[in-house]
Amino acid sequence: MGKGKPFLEVLASAIHEDFRFPFLELFAFLYMLGAFALANFSVSLYSQVSTNEAVAYVVTTSLIGFSLLFFLILVFKNIAYGLGSELEKGIIQTYFSYPLKRWAILTAKLLSGIGVSLLLFLGIQISAFYILAPDIVSTQLSTIMLTYAANLSFPLIISGIILLLTLQLGRGGIGLVVGIMLYLGMSIASQIALLVAQATESALGVQIISMFSPNYALQYHYRALVGASSSLWNPTLSETMLYIGGSYAIVAALFILGYIYFSRRLNL
């Protein structure tokens, strides 16, 4: 018996459940809709954008726009509803009867719930990019990758929190509600932080928000702000990278906690 086979079979089973008809088809369509129909490439809106990197940033952000929301919905569904209901109903208990370590079962579930969603999201995004703006992809790949990294960390932080709540409570409903509240709360808090930063001429609020959602730091770095002064904060690329790295450290910490809980403490 190959050592990797039980893991692959559990992964295949998880993918079968998470992406059964019509979820895969629906979200592939929504991602394409977000990338091809709802993206807004009006760089002229951003008066202070001057460099090629900044243009690439603005184009990438526009392309991500609605698709990121669809990505969030899919990941939240897979973790809160998928994993949560499997814990509640006892399907995880059935997986525990197979010759696999607990961490491998969680990895299979997360690869299905987040990994496949991410692949689908990035696959359609990159394809759309190549079709819509091939010149930007070929010259500004690093800026594009950085923008994706900065945009994805916050949804992953929320996913980590939903995962912990789902594991702790043994059901997904509350985790899902908390996740949506956190996401909406964070969106409102960032807008308030931006307004406060303008009013007080202090960037502290935006810097705190950037620790969780480093896209704000990148936005200030590229001066890609609509109707706001970018002179308030001008982080260097290294500082921006630090914020991105910091946010992924939070993501990693949350998921490691999830693994520890699942492997050592989860009683069924």
Partner: protein, 307 residues
């Protein structure tokens, strides 16, 4: 060799003590019943044995190893949960073939186990479309895929019709006899357990109150029990109850069991025919030491409670 050894196991949920210093042993090739009332701690015990729950205290070893997060044990153990759940949108045969691949056995085994539980006609059906009884059968087929040396089953016959129950019990006996598969069966349907078990552990309030081979337990607890079979059990039991050496009478539809003061078994043989004549009851049989598992359970529990 003992396949399962539990020593001084303890588990509490908040202030509720579910299992309290439980000791249990299951030997190779044996069929052991775990019996007890609802809330006795059976499911918690089974979950600790399967590594789904961590004991607060004590030690549990399955095949000599700690069952918590232990894939080696899973390869040798088949599990049937009280409520079986599987990925709902997969077809029965396809899912079992997947399970075959997980365990590294031939995919043809999937159909074999479906046939063993008479589910071959549902092989193309999605798991969510199975009835409760069929799902239970499917769970049993699922537990048999990798030809385990030990099967742990919590209320295995729940949701099954009488025909399916008897087929399943036959399957248990066959697997035990021909393939030396050991079973730990928890159930509240005691007559069924008595058909297949060679030993039992009576569990109540989180502790094993009595355990051992059935014959030994009958010798220990069923002393002074006489079974009377009659067509008018209520009437005759009422008369027998009046005898001064009778401690207890337990009536059912076919007769009653009489617990007498030790050493007085012979006297009841002399008195019952006369009493039957008096109440015009047809006496169908009197025998000593044939207490049912239910009576044995009652005696073991009541004996402990008296102490």
């Amino acid at each position: 060799m003992s396949l399962i050894v539990a020593e001084e196991l303890g588990k509490r949920y908040g202030v509720v003590v579910a299992v309290d210093g439980l000791n249990l042993k299951l030997d190779e090739g044996s069929v052991t019943g775990l019996i007890g009332p609802n809330g006795a701690g059976k499911t918690t015990t089974i979950k600790m044995i399967l590594g789904l729950l961590k004991p607060d205290r004590g030690v549990v070893r399955v095949f000599g190893q700690d069952p918590w997060d232990n894939p080696d044990i899973r390869s040798m153990t088949g599990i049937v949960y009280e409520k079986a759940f599987f990925p709902a949108h997969q077809k029965t045969l396809e899912y079992l073939e997947r399970v075959c691949r997980i365990y590294g056995v031939s995919e043809s085994r999937a159909m074999e186990v479906l046939e063993a539980v008479n589910l071959q006609e549902a092989s193309n059906r999605e798991i969510r479309a199975l009835s409760a009884g069929m799902l239970q059968k499917f769970a049993i087929a699922h537990a048999l895929v990798h030809k385990p040396k030990l099967i742990v089953a919590d209320e295995m016959t729940a949701n099954l019709d009488p025909q399916a129950r008897s087929e399943l019990l036959e399957l248990v006996l066959n697997l035990n006899k021909e393939e030396k598969v050991a079973f730990l069966l928890s159930s509240h349907i005691l007559p069924e357990l008595s058909m297949v078990c060679d030993s039992v552990a009576i569990i109540n309030r989180g502790k094993v109150w009595a355990s051992g081979e059935l014959s030994d337990l009958y010798d220990k607890y069923a002393v002074g029990i006489v079974r009377v079979t009659t067509d008018r059990p209520e009437k005759l039991a009422a008369e027998v109850k009046k005898l001064n050496y009778v401690k207890d009478v337990d009536t059912d539809v076919r007769g009653f069991s009489v617990t007498v003061v030790e050493g007085k078994e012979d006297e009841i043989y002399e008195d019952v025919p006369g009493l039957a004549k008096r109440v015009k009851a047809k006496l169908l049989g009197i025998e000593t030491g044939s207490a049912s598992l239910q009576e044995l359970y009652r005696l073991a529990v009541s004996g402990k409670e008296r102490k």
